[in-house]
């Protein structure tokens, strides 16, 4: 083993390294690209948001329409994320633990929200629940508003963010297998005990990771929500919609101040994501 390591070390120093100019120019291109396309927009958002000073920034954020957009965004996330967490665990469990006809179809369908354009996802809900939609008359007769109202936004967001948790869990649960769960029930544990004491601790980091991604998308979703929301100021505008409306009205400070909030959320998400990935790799399997 030792000899082998040494050998590889030697080969590496002699032959596996590219010439210096190749290395430095590749690193330069990568860093330049990231600066130009990722870092500079972020800095620009912050620059624009604060271009009229802190007070203007604060005023833009605390303006009623902006606050209402923030509240609605949080409300949508608070409803969507727990639901998709539960759905995700149930779906992953179903797919990895049971054999049933149509399983492959179901597994494929889970990816549908990712493969369909968000605008179409929104349109589906309009076609279903809109005034001219399938359930439109019935909903009107019972005075239930879904499209151009909060329920529509929540439904569209649930649809869009459904795959995040499931897709994190399925590969992990397939790799874990069901032997530990079988061991638990053979020792007399009930289904719930097995889930909480055996399954959940094994999937918790992947689950949190999925939840985090789901949350980031739930707060940032634009396309599908834009179709079903109706853009009613102070009522059905989420943060991303509010940004668009403000920007279109040349209210640059309001647009970029809200954008900086979303960007801040994104950065927090990234940091947490890195932490969770590190945790997950530490909890990895050595068997």
């Amino acid at each position: 083993m030792h000899a082998k390591v040494q050998l590889i070390g030697q080969v590496e120093t002699q032959a596996l390294y590219d010439p210096k100019w190749v290395r430095y120019s590749l690193i330069g291109i990568a860093v330049g690209f990231i600066t130009l396309f990722l870092l500079s927009p972020l800095l620009l958002v912050l620059y624009q948001a604060f271009s009229k000073g802190l007070q203007a920034y604060w005023n833009a954020l605390s303006e009623p329409d902006g606050l209402s957009a923030l509240r609605l965004t949080l409300l949508v996330a608070v409803i969507t994320v727990p639901m998709n967490t539960v759905f995700g665990v149930v779906a992953a469990w179903t797919i990895t633990r049971f054999e049933f006809p149509g399983k492959n179809l179901l597994t494929t369908l889970i990816d549908l929200p990712f493969s369909v354009s968000p605008v179409i996802s929104g349109l589906i809900f309009v076609l279903l629940f809109g005034a001219q939609g399938w359930f439109g008359e019935w909903l009107q007769a019972h005075d239930i508003k879904i499209i151009f109202a909060v329920p529509g936004i929540v439904l569209a967001t649930i649809f869009i963010t459904f795959p995040f948790v499931v897709r994190e869990l399925i590969p992990l649960m397939q790799e874990l297998g069901c032997e530990e769960e079988e061991a638990a029930i053979s020792l007399g544990a009930s289904g719930w005990q097995t889930f909480f004491f055996v399954t959940l601790p094994n999937i918790k980091w992947a689950l949190l990771y999925g939840v985090l991604l789901c949350n980031a998308r739930a707060m940032g979703e634009f396309g599908a929500v834009s179709v079903v929301s109706g853009h009613i100021r102070g009522m059905t505008n989420t943060l991303p919609l509010h940004i668009e409306v403000s920007y279109n009205e040349y209210d640059v400070i309001a647009a970029f101040a809200s954008a900086s909030v979303l960007a801040g959320l994104a950065i927090v998400t990234l940091v947490l994501k890195t932490f969770l990935e590190w945790k997950q790799s530490k909890a990895g399997f050595s068997s």
């Binding site: 032997e179 530990e180 079988e182 061991a183 638990a184 029930i185 053979s186 020792l187 007399g188 544990a189 009930s190 005990q193 004491f197 055996v198 601790p201 094994n202 909890a283 399997f285 050595s286 068997s287």
Partner: protein, 344 residues
């Protein structure tokens, strides 16, 4: 507790894993389910445990029909092939699991649990590992912890799926002896699955030979070895020379003291073949092609000059005896066959 299986059948799609299997296991026995891979032995074990449900048939444990009872209520201890220890729990918590998930009214107090877990860890001689996690243990240690965990709930029946399958040869040998001793101590009815006939013979008091989802033979290891009920069992258990008797073989076999009908098949154990040195080449057409030293036993490969197209015949004898005969490669030997099992 005794186990009675009656007419168990199980299909996976088109594949018949078990075909009308009936089996009785008396209380306190240590039984091996032995067979080649795909013979249905693990499926049978999982059906007894309740981890798999049979398409037909009944599982009766200690006089009670348990066929439709849930795994968690069957009172069985199951040791998985890859141990299936809970990887996020310490060894102590693993062993305590079965006690902690009991319903409140029958759950022992934490002090009692601790006492019990300690005594179980002492039983498997791993008390010093209580605070470790499974991935810090060796294969043999994991196996013993898995066993302690299964024993914690005081099962009526202990079921082990390929208990030594994933271990090094040397560890395996120790653990076999250890499991046998443990069984003598505890006397809990135990069934283990294995594809290794040596393991089955060494550990079990009863061996059940399975093939293609059916029981070929059941009995004590010595009975199965000495009196195999069919050609499969004879071939599967121990070494066997197989000779299909045609005219030329018949003539040659008669010189070794064996009388066989044309078309029948002789199964001859290597140690049933006696060799003595021939004075000269005309006395016997058989020469020693090769021999190997297997410790106490010498295995000798024989070549029959009269029947050059047939498979080599293997004989075995104690190495002391081999030395006395002063045999070596190329020597002509006179062959006497003491015993053969005949199958058609």
């Amino acid at each position: 507790m005794s186990i009675v299986l009656s007419n168990i059948s199980k299909n996976f799609g088109q594949f018949a894993a078990l075909n009308n299997v009936s089996l009785e296991i008396p209380e306190g026995d240590l039984v091996a389910l032995l067979g080649p891979s795909g013979c249905g032995k693990t499926t049978l074990l999982r059906i007894i445990a309740g981890l798999e449900s049979p398409d037909a048939g009944h599982v009766v444990i200690n006089g009670q029909d348990k066929t439709s009872e849930h795994v968690s209520h069957r009172g069985i201890g199951f040791v998985f092939q890859h141990y299936a220890l809970f990887r996020h729990m310490t060894v102590f918590d693993n062993v305590a699991f079965g006690l902690r998930v009991k319903p409140r009214q029958s759950r022992p107090g934490e002090a009692e649990i601790s006492k019990k877990v300690k005594s179980l860890l002492d039983l498997v001689q791993l008390g010093w590992l209580a605070d470790r996690f499974p991935d810090q243990l060796s294969g043999g240690q994991r196996q013993r912890i898995a066993l302690a965990r299964a024993l914690a709930v005081e099962p009526n029946v202990l079921l082990l799926d390929e208990p030594f399958g994933a271990l090094d040869a040397s560890v395996r040998k120790d653990l076999r002896q250890w499991l046998r001793n443990l069984h003598h101590e505890l006397h809990v009815t135990s069934i283990f699955v294995t594809h290794d006939q040596e393991e089955a013979m060494e550990v079990a008091s009863q061996v059940v030979v399975l093939n293609h989802g059916q029981i070929e033979q059941q009995g004590a290891p010595s009975a199965i070895y000495d009196h195999p009920s069919n050609a499969f069992v004879s071939k599967f258990i121990g070494q066997t020379n197989i000779i299909r008797v045609d005219q030329a073989e018949k003539v040659w076999l008669s010189t070794t003291g064996l009388d066989g009908e044309l078309g029948s098949v002789a199964h001859i154990r290597p140690h049933h073949i006696d060799l003595s040195k021939a004075e000269n080449a005309s006395q016997s057409p058989v020469i020693i092609k090769d021999w190997q030293h297997l410790g106490a036993i010498i295995r000798i490969e024989l070549f029959n000059a009269l029947l050059p197209d047939t498979k080599s015949l293997f004989a075995e004898m104690p190495s002391e005896h081999f030395k006395q005969l002063t045999l070596d490669k190329g020597d002509h030997v006179i062959v006497k066959i003491k015993h053969a099992n005949w199958f058609n």
